[in-house]
């Protein structure tokens, strides 16, 4: 994926929201990232550390809530959660007819500012 441009978007959205709330420094930013979103967490953190320099987020840490892949199988009705990044069939009955419910998230949740 594009961790550097994702890191830039995170920085832009965070700085914007911090200013709107009337604050000048960002202490931490919390992200929700699905395991199937295509993001390499290490690469994202590395890129964020590079782009945050000389901004109001220069000292900011990034906290990541990793969301596992989950879904609902329309064959066996099982509500499943898996540790896998991608799934090809229902972990319960191996049917291919399932719907993914979580795992593709790519969001900023909140942040600590001061």
């Amino acid at each position: 994926m594009h961790e550097a441009s994702i890191a830039l978007s995170v920085l832009e959205i965070a700085v914007d929201n911090c200013r709107k709330a009337g604050y000048n420094r960002i202490e931490s930013i919390r992200l929700k990232i699905g395991r199937a979103s295509g993001i390499m967490l290490d690469a994202l953190l590395f890129a964020f550390n590079a782009v945050k320099a000389d901004t109001i987020a220069a000292e900011a840490s990034v906290i990541i809530d990793e969301i596992p892949v989950s879904g609902l199988c329309s064959s066996c009705g099982k509500d499943f959660v898996t540790e896998e990044k991608y799934i090809l069939c229902c972990p319960e009955c191996s049917s291919a007819s399932f719907n993914i419910k979580t795992g593709r998230e790519l969001e900023i949740i909140d942040m600590e500012v001061f």
């Binding site: 995170v10 959205i13 965070a14 295509g38 090809l88 969001e107 900023i108 942040m111 600590e112």
Partner: protein, 215 residues
């Protein structure tokens, strides 16, 4: 002090994609985002499809490439409006690149806009451009292991066009494996087997497209 944000990180792209979508709907244009690895045959498929549609559906094309105008010239020689986007290094098209060229296309006189994305099996699947449908081309010479190696594009696409089937006798690719793996990633995927060289399967694909646009 805690500040709630709850914003999609790719929100800027999503917003422009929605704006593109509004312009397409207003002009009644059906838009296909066509993706594949380099050399799978996207431009050849467009040439064949445009000839097959034979003016019954009025097409236009946006060509996305890192550099050069070779593809746009091929399409232009068919008398179809075409715009070339050179990304200058970027590995995919995004909503903003599309938005910037829309003014230069006769959208009101267009029924079907093909957006030929940059050749790449990864990144194009991650950026919406305001399309009605994503479709992908996989040439069988790329190997039958591609669905499981590049799952996202197979999951995001509504149609999979398997190209170069005239070369099947010369490869070890198993059509059955491609079909099975692609379907398990995306149960509703519509699969076409075509050869842009011999023309096999083009009519079936073009008929399906025509039906999609009119429905």
């Amino acid at each position: 002090m805690k500040v709630k944000v709850v914003t999609r990180i790719l929100e800027a792209n999503e917003r422009i994609a929605a704006e593109n979508r509004r312009l397409f709907d207003e002009a009644k244009v059906y838009v296909i985002n066509l993706m594949s690895a380099p050399g799978a045959g996207k431009t050849s498929l467009l040439e064949k499809t445009i000839k097959e549609l034979n003016g019954k559906i009025k097409p236009a094309v946006i060509e996305g490439d890192i550099a050069g105008t070779a593809d746009a010239e091929r399409i232009s020689s068919l008398g179809v409006p075409v715009i070339q986007i050179n990304t200058g290094g970027a590995c995919h098209l995004d909503a903003n690149m599309i938005n910037e060229v829309l003014e230069s296309l006769p959208l009101k006189e267009t029924d079907l806009l093909f957006v030929e994305n940059v050749g790449n099996l990864v990144c194009p699947a991650e950026f919406n451009i305001g399309e009605d449908m994503k479709a992908m081309v996989l040439s069988i010479t790329e190997g039958d292991d591609k669905p499981l190696k590049y799952p996202l594009m197979f999951q995001e696409s509504s149609a999979l066009i398997l190209n170069k089937i005239d070369l099947l006798p010369y490869t070890n690719a198993s059509m059955e494996k491609i079909r099975k793996d692609a379907r398990s990633l995306n149960p509703s995927l519509k699969i076409f087997e075509v050869s842009c060289k011999t023309g096999k399967g083009i009519a079936e694909w073009a008929d399906w497209l025509t039906e999609k646009i009119r429905s």
